[in-house]
């Protein structure tokens, strides 16, 4: 198991799934890849297909329509996969919790490994979270 985790943590392919977000977390996630933060230093790259993913980044609250798709995408992902909820909305549903189109926090749909609150979380916070997550996985 430790070998698996070790290999996994050194090469993280991130699939970014934006639910019903305000786009800000999404843009900040992309920002992490750009020169100032450069997540590729840690072997983190963004991929286009869920089949290539090791990390599923969720951003935004999930409404009735996208929550169903989220579950599908999670089922289609090759395991093991790490799910990270980025931003307050993905963590708790936040301000949208009372809406008619959003009725549950996202952790009720799929298991989530890490929560990263903030509106939006700063890129530094995201990198810090990833580093902590890797530490946690290794400690498993």
């Amino acid at each position: 198991m430790s070998f698996t985790v070790n290999a996994l943590t050194r090469s993280l392919n991130v699939f970014h799934l934006s639910g019903s977000a305000c786009n800000n977390c999404d843009i900040e996630i992309l920002d992490v890849l750009t020169p100032r933060y450069d997540a590729e230093r840690f072997g983190i790259v963004l991929v286009g297909s869920i089949r290539h993913a090791d990390v599923l980044l969720l951003s935004g609250a999930f409404n009735r329509k996208s929550a169903v798709r989220l579950k599908r995408v999670y089922e289609e992902a090759p395991k093991p996969i790490v799910v990270v909820a980025v931003g307050s909305c993905a963590c708790t549903g936040n301000i949208f919790a009372g809406s008619y189109n959003i009725f549950e926090p996202v952790c009720n749909y799929i298991p989530i490994d890490a929560f990263l609150p903030g509106c939006p979380p700063k890129p530094e916070a995201m990198i810090s979270a990833i580093v902590k997550l890797i530490g946690k996985l290794k400690g498993k």
Binding site: R10, P78, P80
Partner: protein, 310 residues
């Protein structure tokens, strides 16, 4: 029997699978690192491509529902086998000139097409509409670069009247002549497409097709495809150097070998720079580009080669 065991050893260890894979992965690290530097980034650590491959091996394999399972899983293997054998055929004479040749220019030319074909077949076998688009683009790309690439490879054939690597390597290198230089330029452009790097990466076009031909691949099959690509990244420049630029003669001592290595790194850097200074073109534009100007230059190279031979 021993002879065959030696062959298997060659193909699995040196200069086949293991050697090509290691150098290919290092090359793909160079590619990513140079790309990162061009983009003002730091880039991945040295062992990153190796970690990636190992990671793919431990991931789960997903087979899409409507797919033909066997073809889906077998396609990557054939690509890998083809590039391994091509690399072995290329390297054997450069390492042990006394050993006989296994195949010639045409054989390797065909073998180097198979990885792309295996991508096409694999993408079709995955029964995904997006993969189908990617696969059809890959096939059209093969069609478009094949014509100028063949023309470029014919220049040394015209000069030596032979398709054997031994004869081609023995002749003064083709790149020293105008025809050879034009042919080399044409071949470099074609190589870019053969490696499906920007501006010719439309088969996988991540932002258009979410990974295109590879969209359904996960785990080990995807890892094999990535490994094959890394090996192609190593084998293609070596093929060009062998055919048009005098080869990398390891057996001739340190100086020619280092010179060959410099040529190789030079080709890689050119490729990476092209890749980072152009946007992706459309498939029909790529076809027009290859069948138009590039083929024209290929024809010019052939004509010049004939004139030189007079």
């Amino acid at each position: 029997m021993v002879r065959y065991l030696v062959h298997i050893g060659e193909v699995l260890i040196f200069p086949g699978l293991l050697f090509t894979a290691v150098i290919g992965l290092v090359t793909s690290w160079i590619d990513r690192k140079v790309t990162a530097r061009v983009q003002m980034r730091v880039g991945p650590p040295f062992l990153q491509p190796f970690y990636d491959i190992v990671k793919y091996m431990i991931k789960e394999t997903c087979v899409p529902a409507g797919a033909s399972k066997f073809v889906f899983l077998a396609a990557p293997l054939f690509g890998l086998a083809a590039v391994t054998v091509a690399s072995t055929i290329l390297w054997r004479p450069m390492v042990w000139p006394e050993k006989s040749f296994i195949g010639d220019l045409i054989v390797v030319l065909y073998l180097l097409t198979i990885p792309a074909v295996s991508v096409v077949i694999g993408s079709f076998a995955s029964a995904n509409p997006i993969a189908s688009i990617g696969g059809s683009r890959e096939m059209k790309l093969i069609l478009s670069y094949e014509l100028p690439f063949i023309l470029a490879c014919l220049v040394p054939v015209i000069k030596t009247g032979s398709i054997e690597f031994g004869r081609i390597l023995a002749e003064p290198m083709a790149a020293a002549s105008p025809a050879g230089i034009i042919a080399l330029i044409v071949a470099i452009v074609c190589m870019q497409a053969k490696l499906t790097l920007v501006p010719f990466d439309m088969p996988e076009a991540e932002t258009e097709l979410t990974g295109g031909a590879y969209v359904e691949y996960s785990g080990p099959p995807l890892g094999i495809f990535k490994l094959t690509r890394a090996m192609m990244l190593f084998t293609m420049p070596v093929f060009l150097i062998t055919v048009l630029w005098g080869g990398i003669p390891l057996h001739e001592g340190a100086v020619p070998a280092v010179l060959g290595a410099v040529k190789y790194v030079g080709l890689i850097v050119i490729t990476v720079l092209i890749r980072n200074t152009a946007p992706r073109v459309r498939i029909d534009q790529a076809m027009k580009f290859f069948w138009g100007p590039v083929t024209l230059f290929g024809v010019i190279a052939v004509i010049v080669a004939f004139i030189e031979g007079l």
